[in-house]
């Protein structure tokens, strides 16, 4: 494996990390507001299939992305109605949402299997995108890659620096207190859940429109669950989630490149374990180091809120 392979490899890593980052950032906001939505996989599938159909029908990627975000948000609205308004159990509802999403997306997509669409175009700035190394690394991605990075910054800023971010966190840490000083906990959580759904939808759309521009049943293939794990891995902080998504994507891709190079004869099963192994080791290091005690999940995570009457 030579050095000039590092650039294409990094591009592949970015492609693997981006859908995870979208879904994980969305779920992070949801969880910081105190809601646990395990339906990420289902929402991603909804985004993937609806985004795909929109592009196949209209030829417009912008419209496809909008449709994907709305589809994810639509699924999230259903989840919100059940858990926030009807106060159903969040874990059970989230799991049901995933299973529902798998079935629904398959049903909607039946007629669209086997139709190719043009991939989401990549940025092409004359002069800049052609530069060696820097060109493809900085100026050669599709819009979703830049959007995912911008959203990481945006969400980090929103949670840490804005009044609305503080209110959202208050709902996740002490729902009763937030309620008693006059904030509408349920409304805040609805907003967070809808945002999370839209983000999952975009993550799914990345798969069906950019990574592999096609629709195949169940094509998210478990990434929703990895995104969920990344939120806990990143201890509910956007920057750590970004790091986690790129670490996980990076190790996954690195092992594929290592296999293809044939320079290491490590059994492929061990290679496949690497991303998970790296995750576990890092979590252990974090948990045993000076960061200990700062891993706490939002105090109200997964608890149903009923306003005292």
């Amino acid at each position: 494996m030579s050095l000039d392979i590092l650039v294409p490899m990094t591009l592949t890593v970015i492609g693997a990390a981006t859908p995870l980052l979208f879904a994980a950032l969305g779920e992070l906001v949801v969880e910081r507001s105190g809601v646990l939505n395990l339906g990420v996989e289902g929402m991603m599938l909804a985004g993937a299939v609806v985004g795909f159909i929109a592009v196949a029908g209209t030829g417009s990627h912008a419209f496809g992305l909008l449709a994907a975000a709305l589809a994810g948000a639509g699924m999230a609205l259903l989840f919100g109605f059940l858990t926030l308004t009807l106060r159903a159990n969040q874990v059970a509802t989230g799991l049901a949402l995933t299973i529902f999403g798998i079935g629904l997306s398959a049903l909607i997509g039946v007629k669209h299997v086997g139709i190719p669409i043009p991939a989401l175009p990549k940025l092409d700035i004359p002069g800049l995108s052609d530069l060696p190394v820097i060109g493809p690394l900085l100026f050669g991605h599709d819009i979703l890659v830049y959007l995912s990075l911008a959203l990481t910054i945006g969400i980090a800023w929103f949670l840490a620096r804005t009044r609305q971010g503080l209110i959202l966190r208050a709902c996740g840490e002490a729902d009763l207190s937030a309620h008693s000083i006059g904030y509408h906990v349920i409304r805040v959580r609805y907003c967070a859940v809808l945002f999370g759904g839209a983000m999952s939808g975009l993550g799914g759309a990345y798969l069906s429109m950019a990574a592999t521009p096609m629709w195949i049943e169940n094509m998210v293939a478990g990434r929703g669950w990895i995104a969920l794990a990344l939120v806990a891995f990143g201890s509910w902080r956007p920057w750590r989630v970004l790091f986690g998504a790129y670490l996980f994507g990076g190790v996954t891709i690195l092992q594929l490149y290592l296999q293809g190079s044939g320079i290491l004869s490590i059994p492929s099963q061990v290679m496949s374990m690497l991303p998970y192994l790296a995750t576990i080791i890092l979590l252990t290091v974090i948990a045993s180091g000076s960061w200990r005690g700062r891993l706490d999940a939002p105090a109200c995570l997964g608890k149903t809120f009923s306003p005292p009457s």
Binding site: I5, I102, A106, M214, A221, L256, G262, S268, S272
Partner: protein, 362 residues
Amino acid sequence: MLLNINRRRFLQGTAAAATGLVAVPGLHSARAAEPLKVGFVYVGPIGDYGFTHGHDVGRRELEKHYGDKVKTTYVENVAEGPDAERVIRQLAQQGNSLIFTTSFGFMEQTLRVAKQFPKVKFEHCTGYKTAPNMSAYNSRFYEGRAIVGHIAGKLSKTGKIGYVASFPIPEVVMGINATALAARKVRPDAEVRVVWVNSWFDPAKESDAAKALIDQGVDIMTQHTDSPAPLQVAEARGILGVGQASDMRQYAPKAQLTAIVDEWGDYYIDRAKAVMDGTWKSQSVWYGFKEHMLKMAPYGDAVPEALRKECDAMVADTISGKFHAFSGPIKNQKGEVVVKAGERMSDADLLKMNWYVEGVTA
């Protein structure tokens, strides 16, 4: 005491009468008029456009062939493991008299359910275990892989052939080896580079694996996973590739050289007929080009006329028995001769193949 015996005798009598009833000709024919219920258990979604899709095409051919006489049910996305056993048992309980389970990992589960339902006929795909009411059937995919290897060896410029692989089971190892052997016959320095994704179906990961291979000089993409993703990457990156299990031309109109297409329909029709006629017997079959269990998809534009003829001749020779993908001399990765010149590997050896031939980088 006396009463007790009488009651027991009475019960025995009733049981005998009940058994007799089933054998009454009139009733029997009334049952035969009901459609034959056939169940299918799939490991992936029928919309995978690959392996499971191929089986479902076979199932639809079966329904079309017999019309009202056959009623099929399928369960898709069944995980290999305990879940499969539950699904297979459920199909048996629902009155299916013939059940096809179409993944290697369903073998033990099929066997267990087969023992519990001795009257139901089971057919397991790509495994090796059988029972009095359980058959094994498989396709000689490697025959198609040899054609693919031949084309790859002829058309590759770099001599590096990429192979996106699922799990290192004999079935997959055999395909890799058949590709390498045929490629090296026409291009002695050809190399098959394998990347395992440890999944049958994960489009994004399959696509990443394909990118990893192309970035390292591979210019022909082959795969033993179930989605068209690697072929789509080949198209996008301007190299050539081969479809898997179904004709995947629409994903790669320029890149697809050909595809190994599974054809299960004829077999399903035959076996359903055997059950209807009462001639079904447990068997273990391994069919190939000859029995029409697989075929090559129409060649792509990148395959020149002369090469098409060579490939057609290879298929004909495979059918006549003149050509066998695993005829000696075959060397392993260390360069030791494993199969001597003039010898052919036996089916038994092929089915437990766990070593790579020379020229495979895995």
